[in-house]
Symmetry: C2
Amino acid sequence: MKIQESYFKLDQVPGLWRSTVGLERESLRVNHDGNISKHLHSSEWGTRKQQPYIQTDFAESQLELITPPSVSISELQAWLSSFHQIVATTNEKNGDLLWPFSTPVIIPENTEDIKIAQLEKIDEYKYRAFLADLYGKHVQLISGIHYNFQINPDIEHDSFEAQSDYDDELQFNNKIYMHLARNYFRYRWLLTYLIGASPYVAPNYATNLYGKPHAERMRSIRQSRYGYQNKESVVMNYNSLEDFVTSIEDAIDSGALSLEKELYRDVRLRGGANARELLDKGISYLEFRNIDLNPYHPHGIDDETIALVRLFLITLLFIPDVKYDTEIVKGTKMNYATSEADALDAPMDIDEAKWLVTAMREVADQLSNTDNVSSIVDKVEASLDDPSLTLAGRIVEEATEYDSFLEMGLRLAKEHQQVYLDKPYLLHGFENLELSTQDVLKEAIKAGIKVRIIDSEENVIELSFQGQTEYVKSANMTRLDSLISYFLMENKVATKVLLDEAGLKVPSGTSFSNIEEAKAYYTSLPDKAIVVKPKNTNYGLGITIFRSKPSEDDYIDGLNFAFKEDHTVLVEEYIEGTELRFYIQDNKTMAIVERRPAHIIGDGVSTIGELIDEVNKNPLRGRDHKAPLTIIEKGEIETLQLKNYGYTFDSVPEDGKTVYLRENSNVSTGGVSIDRTDDTHEGYKKIAEKASQLLEASFCGVDIIIEDYTKEPTQDNYGIIEANFNPMIAIHRFPGEGTPRLLGKAMLNQLFPDVYNRG
Amino acid sequence: MKIQESYFKLDQVPGLWRSTVGLERESLRVNHDGNISKHLHSSEWGTRKQQPYIQTDFAESQLELITPPSVSISELQAWLSSFHQIVATTNEKNGDLLWPFSTPVIIPENTEDIKIAQLEKIDEYKYRAFLADLYGKHVQLISGIHYNFQINPDIEHDSFEAQSDYDDELQFNNKIYMHLARNYFRYRWLLTYLIGASPYVAPNYATNLYGKPHAERMRSIRQSRYGYQNKESVVMNYNSLEDFVTSIEDAIDSGALSLEKELYRDVRLRGGANARELLDKGISYLEFRNIDLNPYHPHGIDDETIALVRLFLITLLFIPDVKYDTEIVKGTKMNYATSEADALDAPMDIDEAKWLVTAMREVADQLSNTDNVSSIVDKVEASLDDPSLTLAGRIVEEATEYDSFLEMGLRLAKEHQQVYLDKPYLLHGFENLELSTQDVLKEAIKAGIKVRIIDSEENVIELSFQGQTEYVKSANMTRLDSLISYFLMENKVATKVLLDEAGLKVPSGTSFSNIEEAKAYYTSLPDKAIVVKPKNTNYGLGITIFRSKPSEDDYIDGLNFAFKEDHTVLVEEYIEGTELRFYIQDNKTMAIVERRPAHIIGDGVSTIGELIDEVNKNPLRGRDHKAPLTIIEKGEIETLQLKNYGYTFDSVPEDGKTVYLRENSNVSTGGVSIDRTDDTHEGYKKIAEKASQLLEASFCGVDIIIEDYTKEPTQDNYGIIEANFNPMIAIHRFPGEGTPRLLGKAMLNQLFPDVYNRG
């Protein structure tokens, strides 16, 4: 067939492919027996009135997960992953599962047991009660995917500029969307053939209008007359946007509809609070509501289907306009027939199907190979000749392996649940971000704060809540900290000057860039333990610790050793003790951890190498900052460290002996954090808080070496090493030992003081 | 002799050497004839009531320059350099000079013409009028150096801890300072011998108490009885702090003194609002007031003298306490005798002098070679045998080369003035800081804002004014900007997203880290001029500009070229025009410059090499960011650039032809800035201000490419390239062409809203 370039040119297809999609995934919560869950929509998912992502649909136990719009399929799936993980974490505690099919499996005999969503707005609740009366509660338990589609506005604008038939860009826009809506009504039966997926339903299922489905194994009960349908008296005219507005307003005047939103059609025109507003503001996108849940995919829709629907919609833009309402009626009949056919029946109009697929291929050919769209068209083509390749076909064939629809659904639901529960410290879908940012995002989504990734490489995100917009980098760098506070902390000289002047203990000392000056300083050395060290050292190289004032020769040896590693050398008072990291927010200590270098503890039997392997089995250990703890390596530095203490990886340390594999305590080289928030003397908290205050910080990590952190501070038993403007949340959120501290949540509470204050 | 370790051990000398010094330098302003200047104390030096650094002393034309305390001699001189430069810049405009001697050269016959300092506080003014009546105005024109000395408190504390005679640290402290004061009174005559320096005075000079000096060429008129002296009826008792308090209060009760501060002695006890307060708070430092101005040094005191006095004071701590007031009277007499002796007379008590120098050497031997103190002792020793090596000796000998004291003083004053006026774009003494920070410091000092360098390498400074303390890094990074604003600007992706969404024009485009994806993007290229460039490029390498949509082959060539330079490549819309930098403060455009790469303009005769040499003669050009403009190099990059355009350094470009030596416009590689603040269309200022606002910036540099900056902006004739969180002040403050913009001052006005609001 010949593609018709009425609105767009074929070479604009790559641009059209960057059109925006937003998905809504509905799902029933059921218990492990398949009964509808009696648990209320969880408060762990925020409040419904301020949740953009996790909502209830008709029933209290019917979830609706709503992605932000995106041009990227993987981004859409990332959003769905994160929502499903959050929901599943609560469901797991409650013994709930997400029912993977569009149609319910067990319906209570008493419809009173189907609880309408407990929405805060009483009008919303009453409206749902009215619908339940009119259409029956059963039909309202049906779930699916809604596919929101906005044509790339840049491409649409280019087309408007290039044509001469329309003077008004709004008119042009509405024409295109009405064309797309009509063609979708006309040809959607092909999608139903390919991805319809609800052949079974609970035996007692019945609708008010059409009663019980007439057959089992139909392609899609949800899209058949036994799905959610308006009364036949509701007739809409899609000839033009103007006609549509008139017809919906007439339907309300005549009482056929109670409210505009009662209209249930497979296409909904979006962009206004009501239909008439669309005339002024224009249609901004279309919502396609007839996609069944794919029970095999944890999200109810796979990447291929998202791409297939996009390709189908773009193709419809290049197919002649069906124009008349009679065609829409024809299309609806074909869709009923396709839905109500046996799942293994051939397409009802193979010629039309092939014609559509040819058009789809012509469009797909405009796309580059990287999009893999042509392989999708290949599959569609194959499915036309072999109904078992369709989704409904696969379901009915595989259903024979189960005792029942119930068993099949529960098996799939449990498999999906396992996917969601894997690696709970990550936010699924956003694993490329650093852990701390993942924690903040997870808490934000749970609280109903709108989130957006501005730059994933740099961990810059946007958070919005009730009209307030905030940007956050690396989990706690925000508007609340000033730029100069950052530099005061980054600059170790400045940090020291400010803390010292305020009477806080910092190791006294001097830095030298000239070895002669450093040597001459010997006469000024205090009569104390000192450390001579290169200004920058990663692995503790070049450090000499003197437990009391050294002889001049020993001091010079220390200097020579240190100057080998760096051109600047510090001579500092040495304080012996435990290194604690204090996490301070708004001048309050929120968490404290002790940080210990990578180590193993001997058992008198195993070699160090074996003990490392054992430690590395901890599921919290991973690599590349993508896990709370890091795999301990058996590399050069570890080998050297062991050698310094007279070990090799084959040594067998005695029972209870701690052997360190590193000098540095960083988590990224296998170190562990141990929560000490409750064990640390209040005095040190006050000290860390004062340091944060002096540095004008809102979020601050203060590192203090303390002789004994359970004892009261004196002027000599501690030393503040440094302050950090970007203290890691993850070492407190997922400590190697001890209580986790919810610092992502605390950060959000600071940034949005109202977010957790729900009275 | 044997050093007496009464309070300190000899091995504490290195610690005592780190005692703090603060200097006050007084000086008369005179005109080029040597007459006392009739210009008022300039408003360019801030207001007297809030100026910690630049004050008036007794007369309106008598400046007092006050350094903050420091342990470092070079730091003290740095402060003095900066104050002298600021003062001299104004003096040069007014035809004033700083008189280099302690004693005045021309005194008006009518004393009414000696104007008392016009202080804001009426009591202060009246007090000066009272002193003028009592002591005579002449004596009050005498100027000198005040040397404030605080014993290193850490060392004092260590000594207190180590002894058992005192229970009270305050008592211990007062004992030490009274010991030092008494010994200073007793032995100061040696300093007068060495560095007394006022052998001449105006012929009509006379004092109320002693009349005219009895001889010329005396060592120090200022320290003789013809200097500033209280009446003989004023008798003080320095046996103990308690005795001193009683004696000064008695003197006031008896009417010998009007106020405590009328007491004029060579040592003043510091640390309280009045003497009695010292009993509670302790003496915190001593002020030594008897040092004459060294006329040979622009600051009136050289490094050696600062060190010599410190050594002398520390030595006095190790010399037996003279204990009795009779010894003080003896010391005063010896000092008068030394002062009134001929400048070439031998020391009056050579044995005592040698005894003191031996002690000084014993103390100096405790210091490391790097301090060069022993060479100072050598010089002192030589001066004992040869009075011509003393400062007064040198002056009287060299004075014979001049017609008069007047001529000698004016010659020296003019030489000093030239030192102060050199490189006016720098802040003298702080040349190691970046230019922008120097500008801020200079303006802060002028405005009377207290300044402190926290970290000179990193350009972190502290500013305090009326109880408000602020930290500033690199001239405009302050508390006023938030940390996230910094990251939004640093992150080019975030900048673009925010500006683009708000409807500002940023070059549209995409970045690729994968050459295959970049190639596939060809189908999506807009039909516009584009640029393909590596994400990071210093010298314009790897950039290809296509004036219209390229062929696929050309596009791929561009990609290959760019991917050679960086692993990330940008494909962006190309906007042709002039690059302007908008400096925005608090959402207002403060300055705009055009930035042009290093270039020369041909004259049809000279070679490019010669033209570069000519351009480099501009005194604003320097190296290493220490000048507003940078020397144009003839290096590899410049050679390559010339070659690309078919030139060598020996080519002779035609008259008026501009030849660029660089692609990049950075000042650091020879580029120039041209002020365009008043020429740029208001529309672009609004755009830049909106960008700054969107990025939540207080200080922001917005770089915009504009087709024609005099014309109104449209959606297509400009593009915002980037925003900078630390825009350089210097390119506007010292533009290569056009009006300088006082951005350092503007920054201070933002940080301290009251500082320039003096009604």
